[in-house]
Structures are given as structure tokens and as C-alpha cells.
Point group: C2
Chain length 694, copies 2
């Protein structure tokens, strides 16, 4: 431990004291040494001038000294064979001093020493007792009294990984306030060496970890992150709260695709593909971690709601519809069973045995528990939300214990909601939590947390693997800028993507070539320098005879001249029946590399923003899974007289397309718009491929 001083409020001293205490309590097995060349002792503990002066080579070095002293310390430690260091202090890359950080990184890498940080809270490991957290657990009020300012984390099975140390601790605090413990908290700080991906990989294989909870601000290598997440998710659930949603990556919008997609949307797509559960807010990160820890795995989305208060039941039913859960009425069998069970009881005549099952305020704890037992046993429900409002006269504290027993025995995914802000509400809530039943203070939060059970079941099946598909890479002879139509056609053909029958007319004298297609044809200006052909009059449809074709040719020559663009001739295509017009686009995201977008094509593309996004490559199966339930999928399903599109074939085209940019690193952006889907063909009617500059 470097940076221990006489001032007990200094970071180094706080950390040293914590570690010594853990050692005394027997939580920490390893000895703790203080390093400080200026002192012989810190309190009762000896102080060593350097790494070399220590009685043994430590496994871990925790550094809380100013930036200027760190490099020499790291050098000495790396040489001495220290395996790992935690650099708490800031003042590096985050304020522009990246060079010092890189130098430290080089030294450590040379000797195989791993570094966590700098600029981090470091970590607390509830199993080994290593604890570099330095936020004060108590503070003094003006009247001199001492109050808790930061709850100590409890020992448990949620691994909290955070790019903001402070928020990681607050997640653990909120869990602790609900009686839930953490496996560890790890703040990755500037990620000089150890990254979020590394830590995810570690906890994926850790037997004390059951849920991984991640607070994410940004990534350097998005694809490695996806691989780490996908591997972890096969073994345990992982929930991510991504912050920094509004920043749009700087990127030249050469295609509609590029102007459509924001950086956060790519993150969302990547998280979904890798099988992470996305939390939409700070509180939800905590809620979903609790829920994933406590609920059994469940595939179905059919929810039953049992309550003794109509209002909270109605709120829950609304939220269930929002969250995509099914709230189907109680079946006659269950209804009859409940009626028989309580024949003659007054509450039953006023109860509403639908879904929600509202037993009214007159029900007793025992009657509610018995009803839950009946409903939980029904095979037509996968999820159950119980809202035992304690305000009702018949509802007592013991309802939590009795319900917990029934819930545990049922084996179903069941959550409870105790609404209200009183001591009794909190006691009942904590009783549920202590029995391993996830409890939430509002119906909305409870429903969202329940929905995560089938979400994780589906996420486990996500099969992100960037390594599966690789074709030969083309060089395009070192060209840059827009790729010529001929080469685009060759490229698409090699991936099995069809275009309409067409000819290219470079000179007016070649116009007779059009006979090979047959009139009418669609004529398009070929000029890589003219991006939006339609707006400039560079597209003429339904050209019925050679004279009209010639007029179009002459007009195109004039447009290219006016725009000071190269004239590559005229593309004449067979007229394609326009039924469903889609857009298939590809671009490179700075974090995740090649991505693919499948959306509605035509003039409303950017306006309506109906599209699916994925990190490339995707398999046809994955594309199909993503399409389910989307508005886009409805457009493909023979909507209002249009043809029913072969979704399977379309997903194959999207999959092939997604491989192009993975295979060909020199392509910067590409777009098929419109991709026209007819009764029996899928045709790239207009295409655009941009090569990388430089």
C-alpha cells in the first residue's frame, strides 16, 4: 500500500486502515504493508521506504501517491515481480496527461504486471477482503453527531463493474439497503490496462458470482466487449446501464445509413446481440440485478397479478402491456377453485377473479396466500406479481413470511410489491428480500423487474460470434471514394445479391443496347459525384421507347456538367414492380466496427426511422429473431394488399450483405436503397458503395 501518511483523511490512510481492519477480522488473509519513504511508522504499523525493503514481494500494490511519484514506483514493483497494481490517484489521461499513463503501461506490460486504473476507486472483493474503497462511511453533522454517509456493501453474489467508481458504490449501497450483497465492486477508471471486458471475463468464470451488473460510459473495442458479454451470458445474466446516450460519434454522413444512426443506438444493438439486458436508468440497474439474482429462469411472458387493492393492480396491468407481457384472464378452473375454497366468505362476492385477481381490502393474509398458491400452480402463467397491500385491515406483517414459503415452493418467477412509505411497508419488503423474493416499492418497477426473467431466457440464446463468417477480401486497387457501378454489381453478385437486369450506356451511340432488356426501362444517371440523383432529375422512370431514352441520356449529360461531376454514362434497368421498398445499409462505427441497417426505404426513410440495426456480421437466423414484433416486420407481412415477402430470403440477403463490410475493410459505407421486394425477387435497385479515404 503506497501513499499511507500520518493524515488519517488522506486516501492512502483510509484504504490502509480498512485493509488492516479486514486483516484483523480475518476477512483478509494476506499481510498488509505500508510504503512511505518519509516515515518509519504509521501508528502501530511499520512503514517501509520501498518495494525492495519489504519482507516479501507483495501480490498486489495499491497506489495512492501523486502522479509524479507513480512511474518509479511501478518500475520498482514490476521489476520485483509484483503481479498487479491498483492506481487510485487521478491526474492522467482524463486531464490530457495520456503520455505518462502510456509510459506506465509499457513498463507494466514488459514485466507482465496488470494494472487497474488509474483514476479509480479500485476494488472491493467481499471474498478475499481486498478493499481499496475510500469514501468515508460516516460524516459528522453540525451538532457533532455522526451519521452513516455510505453504507458498507454486504457480501453476496452480484459483481458490480463500473466506469464511475462513485456510481458503483451507490449501486452496492442501494443493494445493501435492500439486504442484497455484492461479490465485488470493480471501478475500471481510465482503463490503462484492465478494461471492463477483462473484468466481465473474470466474473463470468467466477463461481461466487451469479449476476454481473455493469455501469458503462464508453468502450474502446466494442467487438471484444461483445464477445466477453456473449460468453458471460451463456453462464450468468449480465445487466448494463449505458450512460452517454446523447453523444453522436463524429462521422461523415455519405449515406442515409450514416445520418440515421447515433452512437447510442449502435450500443443498444450490440448489447442486444451479445445478450446483455439493458437497464434504462440507474434505479433499474439495481432493480434488474436484484430480479436476475432472485428469479428462476422463465421463458414465457404470461403474467398473473394477485392483489387486495384495485388501483395498484390496474397500474401493474398497464405496465405489463407496456413491457410486452401478456395478462390473460384467469381460467374457469382456477376461478372455480378459488370460489370453492372460500365459499361463504364475504370477500369473495366482491372480489374480481379476472386478471388482476383483486381480492379486495376485506381479504385476510391467509386467504391471499391461499389464492396465490392456486394461481402460482396454473400452467397458463409463467410470471406472477403479488401486491399484498398492508394498509388493508386483514393484511398483517406475517403475510410476507407466509407468501415467501408458497412462492419458493411454487418454483415460479414471482415478485412482490409493497406500496407505501412507512415502517411496516419497509419491514414487509425486507422480509420478502431476506427470503429471496424480489420486492419493489411500485407496481411499475415490479413489472419491469419481472419481465427480465423471460428476457434473460431469450438473451441466453443470443449467439454473437464475429468469427464465423469470413470471405475473401477485395483490394479495389487502392481506390477511394465511390465505387463504380460495374464493380458494385460484381461485388453484390459474389455475395448472391441480385440487381434488376440492366445495361450501362456510356455513349449515345450505344443506346440500342437497351433492346436486350426491353422497354419500358428505368434510366439513371451514373455519376459518382452526384449523391441524391432523384432530387436533381437524374432518374427517369417508365422510359417507353428509344427516343425517350435518348432524351434522358442527353439530360443526364447536362446534369453531370452542371454539377461539375464525372459522367459515367446512363444505367438502364428493367422496370421493377415496386411493392415493398427497403433500405439495406452498412457503415463503420468507431466503437463496434461494421454495422448493418435494414429499414423502410423510399423518401420517408430518414423521417420515420423504422429500422433494425445490428453489428456485422449477422446470421439469417439472428436477423429473423430481431425482426419479430417490429413494425418493419409487419410491412413485410403482406400489409394491405402488398405482396407477402419471403422473410427468410430477405434475412439471407441481409446476412450476406452484412458480411461484405466485414470481409472488405476498404469499404467505408454502402447502401442498397431501395432494395425492392417483389412477389418472387429481392432486387438492389439503387446501390452506393464508398471506399475509405486514404
Amino acid at each position: 500500500m503506497a501513499g499511507v501518511s500520518a493524515d488519517p483523511n488522506k486516501l492512502g490512510s483510509i484504504i490502509f486502515t480498512n485493509m488492516i481492519e479486514n486483516r484483523k477480522k480475518g476477512i483478509l488473509k494476506a499481510p498488509v504493508y505500508a510504503l512511505n519513504p518519509a516515515r518509519n511508522r504509521i501508528g502501530e504499523h511499520p512503514c517501509y521506504p520501498s518495494i525492495d525493503a519489504l519482507p516479501e514481494v507483495p501480490e498486489l500494490l495499491i497506489i495512492a501517491v501523486p502522479e509524479a511519484q507513480t512511474l518509479s514506483l511501478i518500475k520498482a514493483a514490476a521489476k520485483a515481480g509484483v503481479e498487479a497494481a491498483v492506481m487510485i490517484t487521478g491526474g492522467y489521461a482524463e486531464i490530457g496527461k495520456g503520455d505518462v499513463e502510456r509510459e506506465i503501461g509499457k513498463v507494466a506490460a514488459k514485466h507482465g504486471m496488470r494494472i487497474l486504473g488509474p483514476n479509480t476507486i479500485g476494488l472491493v472483493d467481499m471474498w478475499s477482503g481486498v478493499d481499496s474503497l475510500f469514501l468515508r462511511p460516516t460524516k459528522i453533522l453540525p451538532d457533532g453527531s455522526q451519521v452513516v454517509s455510505m453504507r458498507k456493501p454486504l457480501k453476496g453474489e452480484v459483481a458490480v463493474i463500473t466506469q464511475s467508481g462513485h456510481l458503483g458504490e451507490v449501486v452496492a449501497e442501494e443493494l445493501a439497503a435492500n439486504g442484497v450483497g455484492v461479490r465485488a465492486i470493480v471501478g475500471t477508471g481510465n482503463q490503462l490496462d484492465v478494461s471492463v471486458e477483462d473484468v466481465i471475463e473474470h466474473f463470468a468464470g467466477d463461481r461466487h458470482t451469479r449476476v454481473i451488473s455493469v455501469y458503462l460510459e464508453g468502450l474502446r473495442d466494442g467487438r471484444r466487449f461483445m464477445e466477453a458479454v456473449a460468453r458471460a451470458v451463456r453462464r450468468k445474466p449480465l445487466v448494463v446501464f449505458k450512460v452517454g446516450k446523447t453523444g453522436v460519434g463524429a462521422r461523415a454522413a455519405l449515406t442515409h445509413t450514416a445520418s440515421l444512426v447515433g452512437n447510442y443506438e449502435v450500443y443498444q444493438a450490440a448489447l442486444r446481440q451479445a445478450g446483455a439486458i439493458e437497464a434504462r436508468g440507474f434505479q433499474e440497474l439495481v432493480d434488474l440485478s436484484v430480479s436476475l439474482l432472485m428469479l428462476p429462469l422463465t421463458k414465457g411472458r404470461r403474467l398473473a397479478i394477485v392483489t387486495n387493492a384495485g388501483g395498484v393492480g390496474a397500474i401493474a396491468a398497464d405496465e405489463a402491456a407496456n413491457t410486452g407481457l401478456k395478462v390473460e384472464p384467469l381460467q374457469d378452473g382456477a376461478r372455480r377453485k378459488i370460489l370453492a375454497m372460500f365459499a361463504g366468505e364475504a370477500f369473495v362476492s366482491n372480489a374480481s377473479l379476472g386478471n388482476p385477481v383483486d381480492l379486495t381490502a376485506s381479504v385476510t393474509s391467509d386467504q391471499l396466500v391461499k389464492t396465490v398458491e392456486v394461481v402460482a400452480a396454473r400452467p397458463e402463467y409463467d410470471l406472477l406479481l403479488v401486491l399484498p397491500t398492508h394498509h388493508a385491515p386483514g393484511m398483517e406483517y406475517d403475510v410476507a413470511e407466509k407468501l415467501s414459503g408458497v412462492i419458493k415452493r411454487s418454483g415460479k418467477a414471482i415478485a412482490c410489491c409493497v406500496i407505501g412509505n412507512s415502517e411496516l411497508a419497509n419491514r414487509i419488503h425486507m422480509e420478502f428480500m431476506s427470503k429471496g423474493i424480489p420486492g419493489f416499492p411500485t407496481p411499475e418497477r415490479a413489472v419491469r423487474a419481472l419481465a427480465v426473467a423471460p428476457e434473460y431466457a431469450a438473451a441466453k440464446k443470443a449467439s454473437w460470434d464475429s468469427s464465423v463468417l469470413h470471405g475473401p477480401s477485395r483490394r479495389f486497387d487502392g481506390k477511394t471514394g465511390p465505387l463504380r457501378q460495374k464493380e458494385v454489381s460484381r461485388l453484390l453478385r459474389s455475395y448472391g445479391i441480385a440487381e434488376p437486369r440492366s445495361v450501362i450506356v456510356e455513349h449515345a451511340k450505344d443506346l440500342r443496347k437497351l433492346e436486350s432488356i426491353g422497354f419500358p426501362v428505368a434510366c439513371k444517371l451514373l455519376s459518382p459525384g452526384v449523391p441524391h440523383k432523384t432530387e436533381l432529375g437524374g432518374v427517369v422512370l417508365d422510359v417507353g421507347n428509344p427516343a425517350e431514352a435518348e432524351r434522358a441520356f442527353v439530360r443526364f449529360q447536362r446534369i453531370a456538367a452542371r454539377e461539375h461531376a464525372r459522367f459515367d454514362g446512363m444505367l438502364a434497368q428493367e422496370m421493377v414492380e415496386r411493392s415493398v421498398e427497403l433500405l439495406l445499409g452498412g457503415m463503420r462505427d468507431p466503437t463496434f466496427g461494421p454495422i448493418v441497417l435494414l429499414g423502410l426505404g423510399g423518401v420517408y426513410t430518414e423521417l420515420l426511422r423504422e429500422y433494425l440495426l445490428a453489428v456485422s456480421p449477422i446470421t439469417a437466423k439472428e436477423a429473423r429473431r430481431m425482426l419479430i414484433g417490429e413494425t418493419l416486420a409487419k410491412a413485410l407481412g403482406g400489409y394491405r394488399g402488398g405482396p407477402r415477402v419471403s422473410v427468410g430470403r430477405l434475412c439471407e440477403v441481409a446476412s450476406a450483405f452484412s458480411r461484405i463490410m466485414v470481409d472488405n475493410p476498404s469499404i467505408e459505407q454502402m447502401e442498397l436503397n431501395p432494395l425492392v421486394v417483389t412477389r418472387n425477387r429481392i432486387l438492389a435497385v439503387d446501390t452506393r458503395v464508398m471506399l475509405r479515404r486514404g
Copy 2:
């Protein structure tokens, strides 16, 4: 008080005891009498056998006796001149016994007695001391100890109106837990007489009420509700949480309009038009009530964020973007001022003086307060969120008191967020609340609550008034079903809505009439029994000559015959340049009456669901206000080469259209689809008007 018995756990006894206590404390000025023909005394209090036996005629009668005894009690009270009654007991319309309820209503109405309930918690009035709440404030744990199960409401200025008594009390409890009081809680129960609208009207004019907070399940008369809300909102903010979002009113979908619109969407439109603030959840109802109570009125949406922790600042910035607030960078002037103020201080060199202004964990309370003072004074911000994370070493308890002073003096709309779940976090939060600064435990909730200040400023301008526009009503000669094309044209013309030039051809021999329009024309089958003409081939566009027109005519005759529908002939219209295709629809909602919908037309109408909804009538100005920022408005703004539509003219057409169904009660549904907007005309190309059945 009727229903007081020897059992202290009976509703009547609980209420009686509460009232007696309020009387003893001096909160309640009026005397309290117990009614019970079976007893002479209840404890120390005399018990009267009937209303007539009381020493004086009471102003208010609270009834907690079973349903069977209520009618005679109401009769006696009404005759004796009692002005109002609260019927606590349930067992009426909510379980199908509507007839008893109606009978009671008749008796009361005859004598001018008002009734609250039945099936309600009744009310607590924190000013007069009338209190019929009966939920137990404490319960007994198994170990015999007594804990608070329902916090008593505090006295304050939020009027809570609720259709679920339980949730009304929980709102008040949550407010009390945050140190915020209520003016009253009123549960309207079955609304035999006094409705939510009545109670809103009451608190609108009440000088002790500053915010009206409504939990709403359903309404009988939507238009009266809107009028009550609109009148209230001019004087004070009103926030509504609407539950029962998923129920779709039973309604025949004769038009796209009817199949598009759900009941909850009409509620949303009505709330917006009337100027209510909509809370999206239970917690938000509480948060927005607090925020509307404490924040000054602010028109602008420009938010500054000041924090000492990067993570919470980033979360707040994300949420601000979601909520439609502007987060623009700190201007140079402010930045220079802060730098000068803290010249030489270590924290400044690491601070990020953008927006969020992140002063880092090294900042002290005083430095943070001074920075907030500078930022709050900047005219370029309307709203300010301060996140003074108390976990940082320099942040002490007194930050709340110091910040509160600066915030109050600034006069700006400023909220605070203290994240964390510890005693200190709660103390700081409560210190803010006690000083009248709205505080929230997560950045997301704080941002949403701040956004409500400009939302209310805009809502105050909402001008719902159903009485302004009324034209002459048409009888349509008592017809039902689809209205004939000729009559539709006459109707639209009288409201100034244009159609393309057209002729109706009833017999093949009249086909020469088409010359008056000039070829090409669009030909449409006229057959009221064929709803989706396009799908069945009943529309032929671009008919270029008389021969083609004749072919279309013959084809239409065949389609009508095949569908067994009446053949009214063929409509031939001038071909209209199709630029922007809209849909303008009208229907009757069971709760709110005539509504109007303006959306994207064409085949994707139902798929994309891009539309605006309003309760009819709307003024052109209101239509324009609603369009701002909507996707639909972008489509009108000359999107990608299409014509720039005259939005002003379109809003006039929508306003005129909205009047048609208000003026003509015999129209059930109507639709202009497409309503084609060209460079200089707005034309109803296809129209459909359905008259009411029976």
C-alpha cells in the same frame, strides 16, 4: 356519524375516534355526534338513535352502515336539511347493485343534498379537520411491538383527488415522507353524485390549494372534465395519472381512424388539450406534484447541470435530452468567472466547465455553492439541476442549507438530487425539502420533475373551449350507414374543404361527361358497401382516354356485383399530383365525444401510426401548436424534395373538419384519406362519411 359501534376496529368507530380527536385538538371546530339506534353511549360519548334525535341538524353526515340501512338514513337526513353526506360503505354499483345507488341519488337530488361516494375512503380536509379516513395508522408485529403502517398526512397545499381511495392515501403518505403536506384527500368512489370534475372545480377556486393532483381511472363525461381542468389550469397546475391504459373502448372500426385510436390515446389528447400535466406513473404523480408546488413558473427549457460527480451528471444530461430539455455548454463568460473565482485551487484544473459543470470530488461545499450562484445568474439557462454528491470528502451536511439560500435568492427553477441510500443522504434531502427546494433521489427523476415547470407554463396557454364553434346541424333525412358521394361533397364544400374536380357517371352512356375534366382522370368505384376499394381493384389511375374509362366502368360494375353491393356509378376525378398524402379522420369516443385525427395517409397509415389526435373542435391555432416538433410536421415541411406544405392552411382545414362532427350529431365516423397536399391546394381525394345507426 352513522355506523359507530362498540367494536373499535369497525370503520365507523375508527372514523368517529379520529373526528373526536381532531375536535379535542381544536382542528375540527364543529361538534361530532354518533348515530346508532342500538346503543345509548359509545365510551364517554352519547349515541343518538336517529338524525331527528340530534340536538341540531348536522352539516355533514358520514355513513359507514351496511348498504341495506343506508337509504332510510339518507331519506331522513335529506328531509332534515343535511347538506352533504359521505357514503363510505361499498356494495353498490361496483358489484352490480346500481339500482339502490340510483334510488339514493334521486332522494338526495330532490332535497338538494350532495353525496360523496359510496364505496370510498371519503375525505380528509386538513383545514376543517373533517377526516373520514379509516386505514389504521399503526399495526402490531408478531413480537407485540407497534409500528407505523400508514403515515398521517401533513397539512399543506396539494389537493389529492383520487378514484382509488387507497392510492390517494399512499400519495399523501409519500408526500408526508418527503415533508410535503396536502390540502385534502378526496376519494370519489362510485361517483353517485360528486364527481372528479366537481372536486376539481372546488379546489380550482380554493385559496389553500396550490397544486391539484389527480389519480384517474375513468370518466363519464369527458368534455365536462376537460372544461373543469381547463378552468383550473388557468389558476393552478393540475397533474393527472391515468390508469386503465390498455382497455380499448368497444367500437366498430368502420374507418382507419376508428381502428387506429385506443381509448387511452383519446384521454392523453384530452388531458393535453385541457392543459393537464400527465404523470406517467405512480411515483411520477408524487414527484411532479412536489415539483409544481415548489418550482417557480418558467417558460424556457434550457437546463444547466452542476455536480461534483461525473456519472450522475452524465445520467442527468441523457435524461434531459430524452425529456426535450436543452443542455447547452457553459458560455465563456461564466467559465472565466468560475476560473477567476477559484484561481489557484487544485480542483479547478481537473474540473470540467461544460454542461454538466463537473467540479470533481475534490470540490468543497462552499465552492460548489459559489459555482451554483454564478450559473444560476446566467440568463442563458432557465432551469438548473444541482447534484451535490455527499459521498465526496469535501461535501458536508450544510451544503443543503447553503445551497437553499442561493437557490431561493436566484428566483430560478432549480431542483436538487442527492443520490445514495444512507442516513446522511436522507438528512440532506429532507433539508432541501424543508427549505422548499424540490429534491429527488435519482438524476432521472429530478430531470423529469424540472421539465414540468416549462410544461405547465405552456399548459396554461391551452385554450380548450368546446363552446366556441357551432354551425348548423344537418339531418341527412334520417339516413343511416354510408353517406352518398354527392352529399359528402356538399357537406365538405359547406365547411370550405375542397375536392378534386370530378364528375359522377351513373350510366355508361354518360361517359362523355368526362370531357369536362379532361384526361387523364382517376376512376373510382362508387359503392357504399365496398370499404377498401383499392384492394379490390375499384380504383384505376391515369385513365388516358374514353375507351380506357369505359373499360374501368364495366369492371366496376362487375366488382359491385361480385361483392353483392349497390352500384352507384363511377367517380372520375382530375389526376392530382401526389406529394404529401395525409389522413383526416373523425369519430365519436364514448367518453369524449367527437375527436379528430390528422395523420400520414396512404397504405402505411395503420402501420406507422404517425398522427395527432384531438378532441373536437380544435382551432387552427391549437392544431398548429400540437404539430410543433412532431414527425408529421417534418413530413409537411418540404421533406426531401416534396413541396413545402402551407401548414397554416392545413390547420384551417383540420379545424373546419373538426367542427363537422360537433355540428352534426348524426355522423358517426368520417374520413378524408388521402387528403392530398399539393403545392397550392389541399384536396380531399377520397372521402367516407358514416351516419349513425338507429
